[in-house]
Symmetry: C2
Subunit: 262 residues, 2 copies
């Protein structure tokens, strides 16, 4: 539909100025949905809207496609926004702040926190934003890509900005180790395994060079400790040691024990 | 070509396992070129390789397309790599570290710094990596996207990892203000402008309420200082003040001065 914006959502609007291909609008919509953005605005799209190819490449981001609004001018599309950013491949000859995507994301989050509506302009695939649309913006967003190959697909450009916006509020720990239905092994369990292992290795003659034994023991301990073993894995390892030593021809601890985690 | 990897480049390899569509391979190649990656490896691509549609969507990233190598198995594709990461939409039921893309990028950079070859596995568009390929990896990379819409296009997934890898070494300042052929105004130039402005405003009677004058002066100073004016802009502003006061009916400083930046 064409018309004045309704009450804006506070998450940033993505404004595609004269997008050439419906499929790129769809890729942009999908990237938006990945990153919690919903407000898609199209200024004079080259292909008619609604566009079946856009829906196809949106790959299920139907809410974004269905909610997209079409405008006759960038000014109308941005009328209700308080903060406006323009994405360009390189800084233009305008005295205007140039932000990296993460820096822009921080500003967008701050604007949202203040209750301000913000938006990001993306130009046509072939040419990018014209200088007049760039001049409308408070600041530029330029992704510092490889200078040898700066040409970013429209959907990819939207993803970079949307991803940084999404990530700026992320609470996901940078690294996590999911333990399934187990829990980290405690020191008693670990030491029980080490005692078992070294006893079998001693019995097998593996640690027989006396002066080298402490180093070997230390190295083996470190290797297993780095793995941050779960309780379940410790039981499995003890089963392994037991099975191997049994295979040696009877073992030292009897046979027939159940293998853990079988 | 099919065959053992040659001497690896140390920037991470991108390994696409059974990619279904040539166009997605092209999008991935383009994203790689944007972010300084060149080593593309394909495991059993569904469409024949070379693939014209891939070259098309690569949009000029020909070096990546031309250098792509095809393998019969993930094991062969990864044989020369020291560190291997698997991208998945969500953590799998395996006790394996789960990293965000930026955390993985930091590890990839560290591996590169140690001279180790690393690679990142991406699964087929529809199904993602199977559990056996996931099990090959040292760690998972999971982008914490909107839980309501996690489905990431293959090219987009490659971009996220490539972008974070590229960005992890970025030296681009988060914010910059390009000044064109000018330079920041110095304090003398700024004060000269303020003196000029306030003199004209006094003459025009704008600052006549004595008790309010200091606040008004302070507010105007702050407004202009926030703009981080260049020397050229200060001259332009003085021209504006001069022109406006002249328009008031002759002004206080004579007429006919040249407008700066005309």
């Amino acid at each position: 539909m064409t018309g004045p914006p309704t009450q804006p959502t506070r998450a940033p609007a993505i404004v595609l100025v004269e997008p050439q291909l419906g499929e790129n609008v769809g890729f942009a919509a999908r990237a938006m949905a990945n990153c919690g953005l919903t407000d898609l605005r199209l200024v004079r799209p080259r292909e008619p809207w609604p566009n079946p190819r856009a829906r196809e490449t949106a790959s299920g981001a139907d809410a974004v496609i269905d909610g997209a609004r079409v405008f006759d001018s960038t000014a109308e599309a941005a009328a209700d926004l308080h903060r406006l950013y323009a994405t360009t491949a390189r800084p233009r000859d305008q005295v205007k702040p140039v932000l990296t995507p993460p820096a822009a994301a921080a500003e967008l989050r701050a604007a949202t926190a203040r209750g301000e509506a913000s938006g990001v302009l993306f130009g046509p695939e072939r040419t990018g934003l014209d200088n007049d649309d760039v001049a409308r913006a408070d600041a530029l967003i330029v992704a510092p890509l490889d200078p040898a190959f700066r040409s970013l697909n429209l959907g990819q450009a939207v993803l970079l900005v949307a991803w940084e916006w999404w990530q700026a509020a992320a609470e996901t720990p940078a690294e996590a180790l999911p333990l399934g239905d187990s829990r980290p092994a405690n020191r008693e369990e670990l030491e029980g395994f080490f005692d078992h292992l070294f006893a079998e290795l001693d019995a097998a003659g593996f640690l027989r060079v006396v002066e080298k034994r402490p180093i070997m023991v230390r190295n083996l301990r470190n290797l297993f400790l780095r793995a941050q073993l779960t309780e379940k894995e410790v039981r499995a390892l003890r089963g392994v040691v037991k099975a191997l030593s049994r295979g040696r021809g009877g073992g030292t601890k009897g046979t027939g024990d159940r293998l853990v985690d079988e």
